[in-house]
């Protein structure tokens, strides 16, 4: 994976994330303002495959985007070697991906 590829992946994942973050925030504000209970929310997220698909894409984009930025920060601000920053960032990406997809699975209602 070249630096150029990583740079472009980060930009492209940002393009994907930007509208998704906005929609995510709008939905959160709507759900809490409307006073929906947790059960009601879970019933809605499980009612259509649209929400699990939306959040699965969200999680993947975030898991690509965040570790690349974290890697740059580690390289500029810590004395860690390039190999160490690569592995730390990759590990962070895997953690984001696993935790995120696990949450998506839980709200999808497919496990039930």
């Amino acid at each position: 994976m070249t630096e150029t590829r990583l740079f472009l992946l980060q930009r492209i994942s940002a393009l994907v994330l930007a509208p998704m973050v906005i929609l995510h925030l709008v939905v959160i504000l709507y759900a809490t303002r409307a006073g929906l209970s947790a059960e009601a929310i879970l019933a809605r997220t499980g009612s259509t495959p649209l929400w699990p698909v939306f959040y699965a894409l969200f999680v993947v984009a975030a898991a690509v985007h965040a570790p690349i930025g974290l890697r740059n920060i580690l390289r500029e601000w810590t004395p860690l070697s390039r190999g160490v920053t690569d592995w730390l960032s990759l590990g962070f990406g895997v953690v984001l991906l696993v935790l995120g997809l696990r949450a998506v699975w839980a709200v999808s209602g497919w496990a039930a």
């Binding site: 070249t2 630096e3 150029t4 590829r5 990583l6 740079f7 472009l8 930009r11 740059n72 390289r75 500029e76 601000w77």
Partner: protein, 254 residues
């Protein structure tokens, strides 16, 4: 050039002050500031002050200059904390309180006093793909470049760089990341990427986007603010980023 010719009376901060308190860096990386008293004169530049200190106080003071008129790019130093061409900086502009601190350029190894080793700066120029590769011999007709084309105007905006390293010294990313190629080298790459005569387009783009290339820039704009000829390397670097994205998507022009 932003400096205008100033009459003695019009110089800001010039009235009243008879003597300048000048701190000059002595030694290498390990060193200290030494203080000198230098008479305040009309139309005095910071380079004049350094020269006066060398002639009348410390004959062994090491510093670089050549043209004295902002053409050669060899006299850049850190003046009151900011990288500047000393030859084109009037004392009245920077030392209204009569105090001057003159240090070598930041981000480059100090050889002695005000002289830095600019080797890495020029090496990175080449590393960013800054070497021109022509295709025509002198027997062939000259290449025609449309002066109104977008590429020519992009190149125009960055072409006046004289390698003074003021931007390199102003850049925080350079101080954090020794592999970062820096604003001047990437600006050079951008002018070549907009030069239709340059044959090694793909090589230059690959070099300018590799590790330490345009992806490391934080778009802070320190280079743009410090550049004595008003170039915006920030804009040039953004251009390379855009070009690399278009190249990746197979939408790059030319």
């Amino acid at each position: 050039m932003s400096d205008t010719v100033q009459t003695p009376t019009a110089e800001p901060g010039g009235s009243g002050i008879k003597t300048l308190e000048v701190q000059i860096w002595r030694g290498g990386a390990e060193g200290a500031f030494e203080t000198f008293s230098v008479p305040r004169r009309d139309n005095q530049t910071v380079l004049d002050v350094v020269t006066e200190v060398q002639r009348h106080h410390v004959p062994d003071l090491a510093y670089r200059f050549a043209c004295r008129v902002g053409v050669c790019g060899s006299c850049a130093m850190t003046v009151n904390g900011t990288p500047r061409w000393t030859c084109r900086t009037h004392v009245g502009k920077v030392a209204g309180d009569g105090k001057l601190s003159i240090a070598p350029l930041r981000n480059l190894p100090v050889i002695r006093d005000l002289v830095t080793d600019m080797g890495e700066f020029f090496d990175k120029w080449t590393k960013a793909g800054g070497k021109f590769t022509g295709t025509r011999s002198r027997a062939e007709p000259m290449a025609e470049v449309d002066p109104t084309s977008r590429a020519r105007r992009n190149a125009d905006a960055g072409i006046e760089c004289i390698n003074c390293a003021v931007c390199y010294s102003a850049c925080d990313v350079v101080s954090w990341d020794k592999d970062y190629l820096g604003p001047a080298a990437l600006n050079r790459a951008w002018t070549l990427l907009n030069d239709s005569r340059h044959a090694a387009q793909n090589e230059t783009l690959a070099a300018a986007t590799a590790h330490g290339g345009c992806g490391s820039c934080h778009t802070q704009g320190s280079c743009m603010r410090a550049c004595p000829v008003g170039i915006s390397p920030t804009r040039s670097i953004a251009g390379i980023k855009r070009m690399s994205l278009l190249d990746f998507l197979g939408m790059r022009r030319s």
